[in-house]
Structure formats: C-alpha cells, structure tokens
Amino acid sequence: MTEYYFFTEKMSVGYHMRPLIENIEIGLNKGEILTLIGPNGAGKSTVLKSIARQIALIGGTVCLDGDHVEQMSGTKLSRKMAVLLTERLRTEMMTCEDVVATGRYPYTGHFGILSEKDRRAVKEAMELVHVSGIADQDFTRVSDGQRQRVMLARAICQEPEILVLDEPTSYLDVKHKLEFLSVLQKLRKEKSLTVVMSLHELELAAKVSDKILCINGRYVERFGRPEEIFRQGYLTELFGIESGKFDEENGNMELAAAEGEAEVFVIAGNGTGRNTYRSLQRQGIPFAAGILFQNDLDYPVARALGTCCIAAESFEPIPEALLSRAKEKIDSCKKVICCRRSFGTFEAANRELLAYAKQSKKTIEETAEKDLKQNG
C-alpha cells in the first residue's frame, strides 16, 4: 500500500479532553482536495483546527509528508501548512497588504523585514485572488468578502504545501466563489497544493472535491469520492433536512412540497414546467406532474415539489399503463396546467392527456412558453 501524503489515524478531536468525534481516518494524496461537509455544529471546524494544530488532539495522529504534525517545529509546520479560519480579525491600522504580508513570517529574518522575494510573493498572491486594488486600504474598512479574499492571499503567500480552510467561501458572491475554486484548482495543478476545507455549498463541494468527509456531530459517516457520497437522499439524511430536499444529482435544493391531495395537474417537459412547479409550491397548491421522462430537466423538481410525479423511462416509448394512471390523476384534479405549446413525436401521450382534460371539462391553463419569453 502506498503511503498517503497526508493522513490521520484514529484521530479523536474535541475540547477539554472530551472527545467530540472519534476515529477519524483521512487519507489524501498530494494535490488532492478534501471537503468536509456536515450540518452546523457537527464539528467541521473542530476537525480542521485539530489538523492545523490549533487545538490539541485527544487521540490518534496526523501525518503530513511522513512527519507527525504534533511533533513538527512551529516554523517547519508553518512553511508546510497555511490556514484560513472563521474567526474575525481585529486589526488596527493595518492595510490589506500588511495583512497579506504576515504570511511571509516563516521566511523573513529576525526582525521580519520583507526581502524583494517576499514582496514579490505578496504581490503575486494578491493578484491571484484579485485584491491588488485594495492593497493600501485599511483591513477593517473593506467588505467581508474582500477580507476573506485578503486572508486567502495571506495563506497563499505563505507558500504552503497544504491549505486548511474553514468555510473559505462563506462571504463570497457567486463570481468570487467560482474564482476562488478556480484559484484552488490552479494552485493544485501548478504546485500540487493539497487542500482540506469545509464548505456549506454542497453543489460546489461535489464539483471541486476529490474526496469528501461527512461529519454528523458524533462520528464520520462517510469518507470517499463525491460520486460515492452524493447518492440519492443521503444528504437530506446527513443534514436531517425536514423542510425541503437536496437533490444530489444536480445540486439543486427545493423547498418542501405543499401538503395534501393534488389539486392541479401539470403537463410539462423539456424544462418548461420548473417555474410553474415552484410557483405552485409558493402558493401552497399541491400538484401532480406528468408525464415526464426521467432525464427531463423538469423531473428532479417535479419529484421534489409534486405530491405525485408520473415519470417514464428515458429513451423508451411511454407505456399505456402510465397514460391511464395520468388520466386517473387528472380526474381527481380540478385544474390542468399545460406548459407545452406543441408536442414532440415521443410525447404523444401528453397531447392525449391535454385532449382528455379538455374533453372532461377541466379548467385548462396554458402558460409556460409565453411566460418564458416575457422573462427572457
């Protein structure tokens, strides 16, 4: 068995000698990105702080590049590992550049005077995360998001081999979240930087991570590749989601479905129904959806929000049985909404459903595409 670049063995973490999570086993190769996910208060920060030697381990070991982290000298560790924590900094009279420059501490001489090389590293790190523009501004006067990026630049200019980041994206907007993850991928590619971080954005975690560790507050539930973790229904269970659903397959979250018997039947497909589903959910109207192919863009949303979702196997003709089930459903509804303007060859069943609804004198509302055009 090849030795991992970074691994923990029977690591137990907690405060005041009381273990919170025990037997944590992590193994990472150089250049891999590990993301910790789990509900608030599950102990993600505790695990990260223990790895970064901010709090003492209660048991087990943490090894980095063949050395036990707890036995490394402060300077040696600081050249290998940089951190970004959630605690708020209270600086005084420090510009953003000053803050970034503290990352050079392990490399400067006795009085901490920056050399030409140090200055270059600071400058490069600031350019990488796009904070050069605020270099001379006081750190306390920039926005939370800018501050977070400044702290990231600080960690980067420390030139670590491994980065430990606690919720590094919490204050970032969408643009900067993506930029931040690109920076991680870039560093990984160029310097084979290893990253251990916690994220609340599950959809991002699934995309950027090589490995994922799921913590539930008592123990590690799962550790593995994202495709192993992001299985149907698992995250809803891990986070104990009660009002709503997280869709592991496409990273969407949906609020809870309206309760009760379906009052409206929505005919949709090809992504035309999603907005209608959500609008019905907002109004608290329970609805049934059909007939959708399982690979339709509407399908995951209908499954999460509808009281009933009649779905057909992808790339197969819609069976007769499904059609009659849909008709029964229409019988029990007061109203039918049709989001399709025209029907394709393989959704003849839906055309038939619409005709059936008209025939049985249901209120028909044909919406979708003109709405979409207005929105577009």
């Binding site: 951190v83 990352g103 392990p106 400067t108 006795h110």
Partner: protein, 330 residues
Amino acid sequence: MSFLFLGICVAVLCIANIGIGSVKISLQDILKSVSGREIGETERRILWDIRLPRTLAALILGGALALAGYLLQTFFHNPIAGPFVLGISSGAKMAVALVMVFLMGRAVRVSGATLIFAAFSGAMISMGFVLLMSRKVDNMSMLIVSGVMIGYICSAITEFVVTFADDADIVNLHNWSRGSFSGMTWENVAVMAGVTAVAFLAVFLMSKPLGAYQLGEAYARNLGVNILLLRSMLVILSSVLSACIVAYAGPISFAGLAAPHLVKSLLGTAKPLLMIPACFLGGSVFCLFCDLLARNLLAPSEISISAVTAVFGAPVVLWVMIKRNREKVL
C-alpha cells in the same frame, strides 16, 4: 519623519523641563554646564541635583509606561488596556506601600532594588487576577471594569496600611502614592535606566512575533510563533516595566494608555518594529510635557503628575472608544 518629529519634541521638552522652574536656567547655561564649563553655583546644583535627574526620570519612565501600555494592549487585543486601568499599577503600589511601611517601621533602609522587586510582585499579583478574569469574561469592556475594580481593592488596602504607618512615613508615602517625578537621585535614574533598557531591548527583539500576534493567536500559532513563550514574555515584561515606574514615581494614570494611541495615529501604522521605539519616545514626550505642567502650573506648589496625565490622557481614551464604536469593533 515621525521619528524626527518625536526626537525634536523630546529634545525641546528636555530643555524646557530643565530650564523652566522657580529658578530659570538659560539655554546657554545648560549647554555650558553640560559641556563641563562653570556656571553659577545655585544653578549648577539645581541643574545637576534636581532638574536633570527629574527630567531623565520623566523621559525614561514615560517611555517605559507607554511601552507597558502598548504590550498590554497587544496582549489583550484591547485598545483601552494599560497598566493603570488594569489595576497593575495599583497592585504594585500596594506591595510597595506594604514593604515601605513594614521595613521603614523597623528602621531598615529600603533599597531601590527591593522596591522594584516589591512592585514587581504586586504587579504580578494584579496581573494574575486580570488574567483569571480574562478567562472568565470575553468582553473587552468587562475586562477593563474588572481591572479598575482590582485597582480599587489594592488602593483600599494601601490606604489602610498608610493609616497605620508612622507620621514621617505617611508624608513620604502620601506624596509618592499620588504619583510624582520629584526627588529623583542619580542612583534612582541609573537603576531605572538599566531596567528599562533591558526590557526595551527584549521587547524590540520580540517585534516580529508581536506583529504576527496582532492577527490573533490562531494565525500567530499557524505562523510558527511559540504562543506560550510570547504570552509569558508579554506578561513579565509589562509587569517589570510597570513595577519600575511605580517603584520610583508611583502610579501614573492614563499615560500608558494614551501615548501608544497618539503615536499610532502619528505613524499611521501598527507595525511593532516602528511602534516600539516610537512608543517609547511618545511616552517620554507625554510625561515630560505633563511633568512640566505639574511643576509650573501652580508654582510654587506642585500638582500630582497623575492629575495632569489624566486631563490629557482620559480624553484620548474617550476618543479611542468613540472611534472604535463607530467602526463597530469593540
């Protein structure tokens, strides 16, 4: 630039402190005498036996005070920390009062070293209490309140001891316990210069870890700073400096608190490498200026130095609090 400004201030104030008083000594006379030439006997004695040691004491102790304040502010990450508000000065005062009363009562001559040591023990006791409190309360303002309370308790004990002391001692103690630079001897100046120089050097050598510590403990630890060692050094050095001041000049209010802020605003940066020496100079300027006023404002009687420093220092504290509150950091 800022250093030049501070340097000029120190020089001007030194000359003013030596020259101005009930007996005026002209600049020419000062220069003459310092360069070894003869001046009038009265002037010579006033210059060498009274004014010069006193000015040097204000210069050294003022710097020490500001430095102690700066260290405490860094240590507690609290802009309104200082040896006086945290009760450290009062703790030192209490210990010194106890030692003086009991030893003088037995007609034992109290040496400077004994006093400093007593003051240091008292400072450490107060510091210990403040540290205990800082573990219990996380709030900056509460820490200051507990420091002030400790100060009151120590002052009460001091009063109590003073009441039981012999008459001659009381006069002596009373003057001193209000804080004053008067009655300095060359021997005093030599001891305080030695202690302060060593402490200053130690602090200056710590400027790099102090810079990292400004980001907070967690980041400093990640940068490889030995937190336990740094924290112990901060406690010991700030106590030594406070002790040295109290042993010679009694408790001096607000100078240690205000001077670092004034200097920080002057420098426009908080980098310890610059702050440490600038802070020392700034403290000197502050105390020289206040002592000048204390001696001359109501001449021939003297105002206690603490009264003057409070007038100039307390507004600075208010200013800092308002500024902090506006930035919503406190």
